[in-house]
């Protein structure tokens, strides 16, 4: 590295010292630097390196060749193979030789599927709280969802609760004691003027 030895400015400060000063957020403020035109020029130049670097990465992204044909599919195939099953929720069957269950992952996906049918609403996370592996044990459902501004949130939450309740009663043997719905975040597409906060 012959070319990048720290340069010394005419005022005696090195570029490296100034870079350290910049990295420290220019605190504590050093009046000798802050009043020296040479130092200020160098500080400005050092700060510009970041901007230029952002330009470089932006250009890299713009010039990026398409990934190989199967690149995307390979990732998704691997991921599908490792779908999160979660806990095993028992279903009743009169024959003791039979073990019926539905996976927690299937139930969470079901909650997303029915929740996403509510206009303007998108499910975030969902949790089953309680001993879901024990038949008849009380289970609370907690769901976070995001709602668009033009759909009144109480209605959406009400509809969502009814849909989840129905779906779980139809497809599981869970003893649901509560369905807690939290409206947590907003779609990015929400317009500022009418945004609910």
């Amino acid at each position: 590295m012959n070319d990048n030895e720290p340069r010394t400015l005419d005022c005696g400060k090195t570029v490296e010292e100034l870079s350290a000063y910049l990295a420290a957020g220019r605190t504590p403020s050093d009046p000798r630097i802050e009043t020296c035109p040479e130092c200020l020029n160098a500080l400005q130049g050092l700060a510009r390196v970041s901007q230029l670097f952002q330009d470089l990465i932006t250009q890299d992204v713009a010039d990026l060749p398409a990934p190989p044909a199967n690149w995307f599919q390979d990732i998704m195939t691997n991921i599908h193979r490792e779908v999160r099953a979660g806990r095993s929720l028992p279903l009743p069957h009169p024959d003791t030789r039979v073990d019926l269950s539905v996976t927690e992952g299937a139930v969470l996906a079901l909650i997303r599927t029915v929740g996403d049918t509510v206009p303007g609403l998108l499910i975030g996370t969902s949790h089953l709280e309680g001993n879901v592996e024990e038949p008849g044990a009380p289970v609370d459902v907690s769901v976070t969802a995001s709602v668009l501004w033009n759909h009144p949130i109480p209605d959406a939450a009400h509809t969502l609760r009814a849909l989840i309740s129905d779906a779980l009663a139809t497809h599981t043997a869970l003893n649901i004691t509560a369905i807690n719905i939290t409206i947590e975040d907003l779609h990015r597409e929400t317009t500022d003027s009418d945004k609910e906060t």
Partner: protein, 112 residues
């Protein structure tokens, strides 16, 4: 496999059982059994040959006297899943030869 054949072929034939499960009302898919060490070679073979169908089937483990039948299925959102799962289990029970000490495990992995 120690059981005797009948007119449908071997009663514990995995392909036959898989076809039976597929035909049950409310079943939308049959998935590979939960991964175990013994299935990794299956998995690799299927990935190499692009034949994922080979994995998606009923798994039968038997030593002649003891039989364990396991299947993972997807069920239709339009049919009550406990009913569908019960139909799957009942269909599989019918294939267990008399006198076998057996278990049938049905896991629903997807409802859509």
């Amino acid at each position: 496999m120690g059981a005797t054949s009948n007119e449908d072929g071997h009663p514990l034939d995995e392909d036959l059982l898989t076809a039976r499960v597929h035909a049950i009302d409310g079943v939308t898919a049959v998935y590979p059994p939960a991964p175990t060490l013994t299935q990794i070679s299956h998995l690799l073979a299927a990935v190499v040959t692009g034949d994922s169908q080979r994995l998606d089937r009923v798994d039968v483990r038997t030593d002649g006297a003891t039989t364990a039948i396991t299947v993972r299925v997807g069920t239709s959102i339009d049919t009550a899943t406990p009913d569908t799962a019960t139909r799957v289990a009942d269909a599989l029970l019918q294939h267990i030869p008399d006198g076998h000490d057996s278990t049938v495990t049905v896991q629903v992995s997807r409802i859509a």
